[in-house]
């Protein structure tokens, strides 16, 4: 455990070799970039897999190959390779697995979304897959921007309270009268022109930055003092402020935005980060207790929360199945997964479109139906690998801000996977969240690709600290 307190030394530590003057970049590139070469190799493999997935979808569902999709896909590939090239210049030592995994998940997601489009006869701009490709482009471009603009993650620590402000604004946006929009009962959207956006997705990044900055500076008071009770050191009442504020925030998301999943995500993120920062298990006990209490009360008071629980526990009851807002979707998702079995029906050959929201909230059920349990295990393994690369940053990092940010960002991806996939597979009650990188939705893509950019930047810094052997 690092005992560093407050912001660490050397805010402008050794810059990456390629981050030097641009004019000398050509000479620099001659230095063998083993990590980047591995990444290039993986990316070529990923592109082949993704193209193959689209071909399978076309032969499975259409019966012929349609080249227009590949033109779009090629555009995305150019952007991904653009990001790779950018890394060669400005983050030579960034983790070589993060970008290929994100690209693979994104590509498989597009193939499955495209498959649902075919089933629902959506083409052109109506097509969710086309919009997903465009959003992926925007998201990857933003990730490149993150890599290029943020040359050192420690600058983010300066913006701790700005991040808090940004998060608050993003969370409040959907509540505004004109641009706020309610879809499927949840008021988490803003609507400008032809575009819908879920600002809450991006807010989680701002929150992670804020938590990291805030906890690094405050963790002493949050961890050192307090009274012992039942073997755990509980914080003083006046140090309870932050967790109560976050709890109130999560509860208001449940009450006003009617979005259980997002509330759980924010609160889970905070609890994990405060635990890692302070090393006090009492925060976890407090946090889980508070959230459970809030959840139970919400379940009693708010019908939509109560419905979620009923649907979860008694999904196959015909009355609940037939009810509006009942368990129809959940049960259909289970039927889809069962239809897939061990090896799946094959891409384009199942009926994932029967399940409502098969391309967004239920994309995991769609993947499970067409690629089977084997395919889902592969996807889960990819997520685990992605998350472990993120956690690795925290293990290996030397500045506590970076370590906290790394664990926060990785854990949001993990928790989000668990909340949505666990909901679909009846581990927990179903709440509407997107599956990172795969589900249709621009906001989710943008947020997760920014996470990719940040993790790449963090990992580059970690690798550039020569004293540490990893």
């Amino acid at each position: 455990m690092t005992n560093a307190t407050g912001p660490l030394t050397a805010p402008n530590a050794v810059p990456g070799p390629a981050a030097a003057t641009p004019g000398r970049g050509f000479r620099r590139i001659r230095v063998p970039q083993k990590l980047r070469n591995l990444e290039l190799f993986l990316l070529l493999f990923v592109c082949a897999v993704n193209a193959f997935a689209v071909v399978l979808v076309q032969f499975g569902a259409l019966g012929y190959a349609d080249m227009t999709v590949f033109t779009l896909g090629a555009g995305l590939a150019v952007l991904v390779f653009g990001m790779h090239v950018a890394l060669r210049f400005v983050a030579t030592n960034a983790d070589p697995f993060i970008l290929p995994i994100a690209a693979l998940l994104n590509g498989i997601g597009i193939a499955v979304i495209y498959r649902i489009d075919i089933a629902e006869n959506l083409t052109g701009w109506e097509s969710t897959a086309v919009r997903q490709v465009v959003w992926s482009g925007v998201a990857i471009a933003l990730a490149i921007g993150v890599i290029l603009v943020i040359r050192n993650h420690r600058v983010l620590q300066r913006y701790t309270y700005i991040a808090m402000f940004v998060a608050a604004v993003l969370l409040l946006l959907p509540m505004l009268p004109v641009i706020g929009q309610e879809i499927n009962g949840a008021r988490v959207w803003i609507h400008v022109g032809a575009f819908s956006f879920q600002p809450g997705e991006v807010a989680k990044i701002a929150l992670a930055v804020f938590f990291a900055g805030y906890l690094v500076s405050r963790r002493d008071s949050l961890s050192m003092v307090g009274t012992k009770f039942l073997g755990l050191r509980f914080p003083r009442a006046r140090d309870l402020g932050p967790i109560l504020v976050l709890w109130a925030l999560s509860m208001s998301v449940i009450i006003f935005q009617r979005d259980l999943g997002t509330a759980l995500l924010y609160f889970g993120l905070f609890v994990v980060m405060i635990y890692v920062a302070t090393g006090r298990a009492s925060w976890v006990v407090l946090g889980v207790g508070l959230f459970l209490a809030g959840g139970v009360i919400a379940g009693q008071v708010l019908t939509y929360v109560n419905d979620r629980f009923t649907n979860w526990l008694d999904a196959f009851n015909p009355a609940i199945y037939d009810e509006v807002g009942g368990s129809y979707q959940l049960v259909q998702g289970l039927f889809g997964l069962a239809n897939g079995g061990l090896i799946g029906t094959g891409l384009g050959q199942g009926r994932p479109d029967i399940t409502p929201l098969a391309q967004s909230d239920y994309i995991v059920a769609s993947v499970g139906e067409e690629l089977g349990l084997a395919g889902l295990f592969a996807i889960f393994a990819l997520y685990l690998l992605f998350i472990s690369r993120g956690l690795r940053i925290s293990f290996a990092g030397q500045d506590d801000f970076g370590r906290l940010l790394g664990v926060g960002l990785s854990f949001t991806v993990a928790l989000q996977c668990f909340i949505v996939i666990g909901g679909v597979t009846r581990v927990i009650p179903l709440t509407g969240l997107t599956t990172p990188f795969m589900a249709a939705g621009g906001s989710s893509l943008v947020a997760n690709w920014i996470i990719v950019g940040l993790l790449l930047r963090l990992s580059d810094t970690v690798r550039n600290q020569p004293r540490l052997v990893i």
Binding site: M1, A338, G341, R351, I354, G368, F380, R426
Partner: protein, 483 residues
């Protein structure tokens, strides 16, 4: 901080472990249960993914699956729906299937055991699964003639080739159009189905094999056969010729159809009683013989035998353990006797085939998509109810019944037709069930037929088998003879 990170990593790992476990449970352990759930549309869709095999009559499809653009990939089409509705049955979304569509579903859908290797092959090579086609024994000309001849009566016609048991025509009315039940709209299917269930005359029932009526005088073929063969009575054996026969141990009486005696004279021969279709001498004969010869003969003709053609045939019943009054009634096809039209056609078929009863059968061959033969059907003997001598005696009596007896409306110029009518009583005041069964030509039989007109043919208790059923049979016989 590393200790906390380790714990967080373990939590992440446990969360994913839960997901691995939950998906394994759903996709492996519960998969069969979930697939069996009635609400699982995917299971139904899967059955439509197959190009279901065609049902063929004379090489032409009477039911086939054609590609569609909707989510079911194939639409079941019945080019001559009502004409073949009793044979093909229906194939619906959500309301099951019937007749050949149901009975041979394994073959039609490509899931029968004999198609397993083909199924695997198609799975691996990525071809669309395809079912086998079923070629029926139905003769389209005879089927059409039977369908037209029965007209709008409620009833059934079945024609059999006596030497093989092949079913040449199978018509049941009221009919229905299976196309209306093949639409890909579960609510529309349900509405049509409910309407057909509630419709008068039970259109969804195949009356040739699943409708039991008292056989009436057609059963005299059995009684006469029993007398000549099992009881060893000569055809000129006589019974007292009465105008009223009091049922033993009962205050009820039996009368002949005309109300008087059976021809002139004090006594009447079995031959005359058969040709003129008199009830009293048959009742007397039954009581004289006792139950055993009658029951044995009925059994040999197929009563009490479970049959599949390949649809399940309702079992015709000749009751056992009768008292004399019941025995008397049963001897002329009343009492508790009930029979399907197919059973009645089998009476004629056995007589026509020299006493050998061939197993009736509707399917000629089942052909895999690659045209290899999966199943072919050969003529099988079901039983031998009659010796050839008795058979020819019966045949003569049935010819005389048509020529100058009670079945004159079945006469065809230049051809000797054998036949027997029946006008069966149902309940007190209920309309009669009108029958005809026969075969032609009598010297070299090519077809045996049974016609039933239910609900008195709309005439209540005033119609007769000769008046309504015989002309229908005649047209069916003519259709075969003119080929």
């Amino acid at each position: 901080m590393t200790r906390e990170l380790k714990r967080v990593s373990i939590v992440v790992f446990l969360m994913f472990l839960a997901l691995f476990a939950s998906t394994t449970t759903i996709q492996f352990f519960q998969a069969d249960n979930l697939a069996g759930d009635a609400r699982n549309a995917r299971t139904i869709y899967a059955s439509y993914d197959t190009e279901r095999g065609a049902i063929l009559v004379g090489g032409q499809p009477v039911a086939e699956s054609v590609p569609t653009d909707d989510e079911y990939k194939y639409q079941r089409v019945y080019p001559q729906g009502p004409l073949y509705s009793a044979v093909t049955g229906y194939y619906t979304l959500g309301q099951g299937s019937s007749q050949i569509e149901q009975t041979l579903n394994d073959y039609l859908s490509g899931t029968s055991d004999s198609q397993f290797l083909d199924y695997l092959n198609r799975l691996v090579t990525g071809q669309n699964p395809q079912g086998a086609s079923v070629e029926l024994t139905i003769d389209p000309v005879v089927q059409q003639a039977a369908y037209d001849a029965l007209g709008s009566y409620q009833g059934a016609v079945v024609a059999i080739e006596p030497s093989t048991g092949r079913i040449l025509a199978m018509v049941s009315k009221p009919d229905f159009d299976p196309n209306t039940l093949a639409v890909h709209d579960t609510q529309a299917v349900l509405d049509t189905y409910d309407a057909l269930l509630a419709a008068p005359g039970d259109p969804l029932i195949n009356k040739t094999i699943n409708d039991l009526n008292p056989p009436g005088s057609t059963f005299k073929i059995v009684t006469t056969s029993a007398a000549l063969q099992n009881a060893n009575l000569p055809v000129d054996h006589t019974e007292p010729n009465l105008a009223r026969f009091p049922l033993p141990g009962s205050d009820r009486t039996v009368s002949n159809a005309g109300g008087g005696t059976c021809g002139g004279g004090d006594s009447v021969t079995i031959a005359t009683a058969f040709i003129l279709s008199c009830n009293i001498p048959m009742a007397e004969l039954g009581v004289e013989m006792g139950e055993q010869p009658l029951a044995d003969m009925a059994k040999a003709f197929g009563f009490g035998t479970e049959l599949t053609v390949p649809m399940d045939v309702s079992t015709s019943v000749y009751p056992r353990g009768l008292d004399d009054a019941q025995l008397a009634l049963s001897a002329f096809g009343q009492g508790s006797d009930v029979a399907t039209p197919l059973q009645i056609a089998m009476l004629s078929a056995a007589v026509a085939n020299g006493g050998k009863l061939m197993t009736p059968n509707l399917v000629d061959a089942i052909q895999a998509p690659d045209l290899s033969l999966l199943e072919s059907f050969e003529a099988k003997e079901l039983s031998t109810p009659l010796t050839s001598t008795t058979a020819s005696q019966l045949s003569d009596l049935m010819v005389q019944a048509v020529d100058n007896g009670a079945a004159t409306n079945a006469r065809i110029d230049g051809v000797s037709v054998a036949g027997k009518t029946g006008t069966a009583e149902n309940g007190e005041g209920d309309p009669y069930t009108l029958w005809f069964t026969g075969f032609a030509p009598a010297d070299n039989p090519r077809v045996a037929v049974a016609v039933v007109v239910e609900d008195g043919g709309g005439l209540g208790q005033s119609g007769s088998g000769n008046e309504l059923a015989a002309p229908i049979a005649k047209r069916v016989l003519e259709a075969v003879l003119s080929k």
